[in-house]
Assembly symmetry: C2
Homo-oligomer: 330 residues x 2
């Protein structure tokens, strides 16, 4: 069965295509009788307008592109979920592509987005990519880009991100509140600005408000890495009493170590992390964490996108607020 088109409807009803088109969208020029006839037939023939024809004619796609390193990721999938939800409400669909942290994939995907004339693009830089040229090109071609999570330093781009500095501060506050004496603070890839922001703010706050607390700073690149780091450091004579995990990934490794070593939380060890809450809630006691929601970030990104499209190019950076969620681990 071939797809129903305006032409087909027009032929069957002995009307012109334009009349049929207008009848279907309830245009005042068309008489009620005709509208009824047209709509009835459209219904019965299961007419759905061809989005490509419309987009070609209208020069606007009603599709947003989303570029993430990976979909199967606790953070990105909640971000995507939020963007999808808002997009649907606003009549947009989503085209989602993964870069797998690979610059070549990233470029290919950007090409696909351009070929599909997406109305806008939500992009997370693949860690390797450093040629922002293509993104400038997107802007030249009037495709607004909202960066999230891993964003370019260049301030000519629009970005949304977590309030990473606040996260660091809140974590530090609660560690001080716990009266920690010796802290192990594990951060992620030091090349990423997210790690830098969280670490700097945390470090400064600790220095200023608890100068006597000893804090050991280490970077981990994976869960396993974090697990090893924890184990190695815990084996030493002077044990730490509190551990801070910058990401879920790190928390996972640390918790495996804690379970393996049968350390009692929070009596023997305080644990605090930065997370959207899913992983912390897997443990007993629930791990206390500073909440940074990918879902919230998605909502914010969508707002930015809409603002961008309406008011031209309001270049700036917005952040999602962070708050402390009390579990039982501190």
């Amino acid at each position: 069965m071939t797809n129903t088109t305006l032409k087909l409807l027009a032929q069957q009803l002995q009307l012109s295509i334009s009349t049929v088109s207008r009848a279907l969208k309830d245009h005042p020029d068309i008489s009620a009788k005709t509208k009824a006839k047209v709509q009835a037939l459209a219904q019965s023939l299961d007419y759905e307008p061809n989005a490509y024809a419309i987009q070609l004619r209208m020069q606007s796609s009603k599709i947003f592109g989303v570029l993430v390193p990976a979909i199967a990721n606790l953070f990105y999938d909640s971000f995507i979920a939020a963007v999808e939800e808002e997009s649907r409400k606003n009549g947009y669909a989503l085209m989602i592509l993964q870069s797998n942290h690979n610059a070549e994939n990233e470029l290919n995907n950007l090409k696909i987005f351009r070929q599909n004339r997406v109305s806008g693009l939500f992009a997370c830089l693949s860690a390797s990519a450093e040629n922002l040229e293509v993104y400038h090109k997107m802007n030249e071609h009037e495709i607004p880009v909202v960066f999230f999570d891993i964003v370019p330093k260049d301030n000519s781009f629009t970005k949304v991100r977590m309030a990473d500095e606040r996260c660091g501060v809140i974590a530090a506050e609660n560690i001080i509140k716990r009266n920690a004496k010796k802290v192990l603070a594990i951060f992620g890839d030091p090349a990423l600005s997210i790690s830098q922001n969280r670490k700097t703010s945390f470090q400064n706050f600790m220095k200023d408000f608890a100068p006597k607390t000893s804090v050991q700073y280490i970077n981990a690149n994976s869960s396993n890495d974090a697990e090893e780091i924890f184990k190695n450091n815990y084996n030493k004579t002077v044990k730490f009493d509190t551990v801070f995990c910058m990401t879920d990934e790190i928390l996972i490794g640390v918790m495996k170590a804690i379970q393996a070593l049968q350390i009692k939380v929070p009596a023997e060890m305080g644990v605090i992390s930065i997370s959207n809450g899913f992983i912390p809630n897997l443990y007993y006691p629930v791990i206390s964490y500073v909440e940074t929601s990918g879902f919230q970030l998605g909502k914010l990104a969508f707002l930015q996108m809409m603002a961008n499209m309406q008011t031209g190019k309001p270049v700036n950076e917005l952040t999602v607020e962070a708050k402390f969620i009390e579990g039982g681990s501190m």
Copy 2:
């Protein structure tokens, strides 16, 4: 800056549109000189063909639709990741929409897929939906549909799913191997065929090969539910020594209870689950599980889709094999 089109290139080069079009795709009719000129200009003007125009002309979209209850889900996101990966390799992009387990959203999304003339659709039924009418309509409109996870009973549809019966059997085998005396087996929503399949096969195998082992069967609807069930039953005088969790969700609840009650795994309690492996690897010892990978299912679904598109409509059901992954919990 306006988008570069064939027309624009043609004007600048004083050539016809058709020549430009053919030059860009290296058509033998066009001379080497002309090709070089055209391609150079296209490059410098950053030409990208308009996908809508092509799709309109070619009557084929190079886009697959994916309908899931939710993107932010350990299982669905790995399924999507696999489908996306394969699709990209084959020159397809993905349009992903969420139903949120809501029949109305599902219908709207299907409409969007039809309007976008997707080349095919990967669909997971929203639990509420029972009007398969629309899906028959998709087929009438020559949009092949491959169902996954929550699939219709109707055998006229193409489906892929886990080998749920094998999962149940493998789990039972390993419980018998552990020499379990008293087992708590927690299953999911009894209305879903996935629960029924896993339970029936598990139950039959236990009956046949370990008739003396006492097994208590309970259904849980959420993590919290599972946690409560475990706690309530563990409090009784005769404690069970092994727990089987049909899903990650259930495992999460059970593990919270186990941690809270400070039960030693595997000494005091054997734990086995069905999972893709992410959640089991969060604990120490790592939970032993029967592997059913959403990623694998995605790959299989893609294969089915390609087969469907090429050979017409090979209606059948394929399953992803299951295997036991030894952790340290049994």
